[in-house]
């Protein structure tokens, strides 16, 4: 079916998932974020502490 004027075809959203090998930060970029760049990052820092008092 033909549509007059603007195409109603939805632009396909492209997703890119990048990981910074130095910092471990992961970034998700989509076509919707061409103007807004969003970075999500985190860390889990657990350890064992020994005491002798």
């Amino acid at each position: 079916m033909w549509h007059h004027g603007r195409s109603r075809k939805t632009k396909k959203t492209e997703k890119r998932f990048n990981i910074n090998s130095k910092t471990g930060e992961a970034t998700v970029l989509t076509a919707l974020q061409e103007k807004i760049k969003l970075k999500i990052y985190g860390q889990v820092n657990r350890g064992i502490l020994y005491s002798d008092d």
Binding site: L38, K39, G42, Q43, N45, L49, S51, D52, D53
Partner: protein, 166 residues
């Protein structure tokens, strides 16, 4: 009474955390952004001690960075909200780059541990954190902060004014 213990802890020097940063270009010269960073510490090294070794902490998220900013190559950076103050971290540099081995904040590593009475051997109410100063600038705070653009030689200047400042 002397004893040996093992604690399974969250390292307060650089706690378990999650963050989201957003940034958008408004014009060629100006961009706006936001930072949200929270931590969740269970059994923090700053809190566990001889009498509390499990389930220590608020068991909830606590804030680290909650701020918005405007930035430009010639403008510098203006930020408002909770974030790192201008002098934060200026005197706690650890040249090992681990923020552990030669780190000045001893209370982050074992600040909750209680001293013993040298005569009786019983635990006192005085903690390691009570007796040491980190000797650093102001920590994170609710504030307004300005960082100049990079000046000659790669340096920049920063200043901040927080709600607890006078």
């Amino acid at each position: 009474m002397r004893s040996q213990r093992i604690f399974y802890v969250d390292i307060d020097n650089s706690s378990t955390r999650i963050g989201i940063e957003g940034k958008a270009s408004v014009t060629k010269e100006l961009s706006l952004g936001s930072k949200i960073e929270v931590q969740f510490e269970s059994n923090s090294t700053a809190s566990v001690n001889q009498t509390s070794n499990n389930g220590v902490g608020s068991n909830t998220f606590t804030n680290r960075k909650l701020e918005i900013y405007g930035a430009g190559e010639h403008l510098g950076i203006i930020s408002i909200g909770q974030g790192s103050t201008a002098p934060d971290g200026t005197a706690e540099v650890d040249f090992s780059k681990t923020a552990v081995i030669a780190y000045s904040a001893i209370q982050d590593m074992a600040g909750g541990f209680l001293f013993r009475n040298s005569q009786t051997g019983s635990l006192t109410s005085i903690t390691i954190g009570n007796t040491y100063s980190q000797l650093d600038g102001l920590g994170p705070n609710d504030q307004i902060r300005y960082d100049t653009p990079v000046l000659l030689g790669g340096y920049s200047l920063s200043t901040s004014f927080g709600t607890n400042d006078t």
